[in-house]
């Protein structure tokens, strides 16, 4: 009997690993056929796609830099999934969080801006790094969490579907943030839709400082380490705490959970807030570690990629981590596919992502 249980657990883990692999292989086969039809060699295309993330410290650093936001958004979608919710709103959540983070970095970072030849002080204070960095990080989490809490609240209170509301809130977020950037925080005369730079005290260290041989321009920052920490924290939260248990109970069976004394309404709001907070942490990598300002088109749809990451990672933090690395390899490789192959463009990466999603969904690997 005991042996049977162990076998069952082993079978389960095997299934968790094998089924996403099937989806990935299927995507590569379908993608390969498309590449072949277009007139390029699938072998060369795929070697460009995969090979450019591991050749040097530079390559590897860039790949991990791409993986960082994918881990955050993948975790965000996974936490919501575990509560039975589909958060399509990570994109909007990370937009408002990134803008708010830059805003704090400007207002409390002593930012001076040159307007018409004169220096203008745009900040209220000039905090030291030890205060400013935590303040910026908390802002990213809190603002992303707030934007996520809205659809959570609407679902809990009025029963309106979180999918529609998060889609709508994505558009609202992008419009609002573009408004504030365009009219209030862009340096006059700047043709690019971006804010003034944040104070230097808000910058977080880059990994290249600690690893000899990695070029300074590789934007991989300590935000990546934070992403790993978040994987561990999300795991502990979901499986080792009472709150996580309650959240998952609602995801598995809301009426049973309610019968057991758990309020689904409360859990829905909690899950969406945590989800939004995790999505908001993308701002740490992007604003505090990469561009040091809010740039309006920064995201590259990373909030939507989070859905593919969570699906492929089976909504488990460890799975999310590896799925994020996988998609980061593709994102990095896409640039080289664009340059090195004759006909295939980097859009292949999106096609592969879509096919993975469709296969994962159709093989019913998604737990909902």
């Amino acid at each position: 009997m005991f042996c049977g249980t162990a076998n069952f657990v082993k079978m389960n883990i095997l299934r968790e690993i094998i089924s996403p692999l099937i989806a990935v292989i299927a995507a590569f086969i379908v993608g390969g056929i498309i590449v072949l039809l277009i007139g390029d060699s699938p072998l060369q295309t795929y070697s460009e796609l995969i090979g450019n993330s591991f050749g040097s410290l530079n390559d590897f650093g860039y790949m991990l830099f791409y993986a960082t936001p994918l881990i955050f958004t993948g975790l965000a979608v996974a936490v919501a999934f575990r509560c039975g919710l589909l958060n399509i709103g990570a994109e909007g959540q990370l937009y408002v969080a990134a803008f708010a983070t830059a805003w704090v970095g400007i207002k409390f970072g002593g930012t001076m801006v040159e307007v018409g030849g004169k220096q203008e002080n745009w900040s209220w204070a000039s905090l030291p790094a030890i205060l400013l960095v935590p303040l910026c990080i908390l802002t990213a989490i809190a603002v992303g969490g707030f934007w996520g809490a809205i659809p959570g609240f609407l679902k809990a209170k009025f029963g309106s579907h979180e999918v529609i509301n998060t889609i709508m809130l994505n558009f609202i977020a992008v419009a609002l943030v573009s408004y504030f950037t365009q009219y209030y925080y862009r340096i006059p005369g700047d043709p690019i839709l971006q804010t003034a730079p944040i104070g230097e005290a808000a910058h977080i260290p880059r990994i290249s400082q600690f690893i000899p041989g990695m070029p300074d321009f590789v934007p991989l920052s300590v935000a990546f380490l934070l992403a790993i920490v978040m994987c561990v924290l999300v795991y502990i939260f979901l499986w080792k705490t009472k709150w996580g248990y309650e959240l998952r109970a609602v995801g598995q069976n809301p009426s049973a959970a309610e019968y057991g004394g758990i309020s689904p309404q409360k859990q829905i709001i909690i899950a969406m807030s945590i989800s939004g907070g995790l999505a908001g942490m993308v701002a740490i990598s992007e604003v505090l570690g990469n561009r040091y300002l809010y740039y309006h088109d920064f995201s590259g749809e990373v909030g939507f990629w989070g859905i593919a990451v969570a699906l492929l990672g089976r909504n488990h933090p460890l799975g999310v981590f590896f799925a994020a690395l996988f998609f980061a390899v593709l994102q990095r490789g896409g640039i080289f596919v664009d340059i090195e192959t004759k006909y295939v463009s980097k859009d292949l990466v999106e096609v592969l992502q879509a096919i993975v999603i469709l296969f994962v969904a159709s093989l019913r690997l998604s737990k909902k």
């Binding site: 609407l154 509301n165 809130l169 419009a175 469709l358 969904a361 159709s362």
Partner: protein, 301 residues
Amino acid sequence: MGEIFSIALFFSTIRFATPLIFAALGGMFSERSGVINIALEGLMLAGAFTAAVMTYETSNPFIGLFCGILAGAVLAAIYAISVIQFKADQVVAGFGINILMLGLPAMLSSAIYDSAGSTQQIAKEHVLPSYFDINIASLLALALVPLCWYVLYKTPFGLRLRAVGENPSAADAAGVGVNNLRYLAVILSGVLAAAGGAYLSIGQSSLFTRGMTAGRGFIALAALILAKWRPVPVLLACLFFGFTEALTIPLASFKLASGEAALPVQFVQIIPYVLTIIVLAGFIGSSRAPKSLGVPYSKEK
């Protein structure tokens, strides 16, 4: 304000409402049968891309439109197989279709025309013709509204469709093939949404660009919800959303004496989205979806 409310605004309202009407009516058939259609955006893109390519290659917009519609139907069939046959989560699969149509047309355009994801410019005389400043596709969209109303409420097909969406088991017991009907409804939604997309690339403009629908599939979905899944209110909602989009054109040049924008376009752009959230929350009447929406049907249940 006289400069803003002009006859030009009326025509641009019709122009912007046209793709929304097609897509929202398409979504109506799918959702009335119980299948969520987040994929409207992707279906529109399939129509837009195929129509642009085929119109450019044949110099005939009607062949282009037909091929665009065909592409929409094929893509919708793939979506239908995934959600009906394999019972995939409808939101996830629809989302996958949208991503696919962001990447695939751009990939094919780059390969065929060696461009950065857009197709070749179609000559002015080869796009869908306009009469008195109203495109033939707009007329078709307007004509579709009473037609869809008739189909939905006055034909046996419409009756079955609504029955399947509300109570599939009862419809099944009465001899309606639930899944067959859903296949038909989803493919019909692909046909209509693709026609809306085709209008964008060979009517309103004259080429396909990557992701050119820019969220119109979702606005159509919003219009559908606002209209509570009924054809005539769908028309009104689409006209209203078309109007808000049309407003952004004169607003962009409408400045206060100080040189600042009187009303930033962003505030006008978000109206459809905010309105949808408010309606969904039940502040303006209640928006009740078809009962079986999003639930796959299995006979043995």
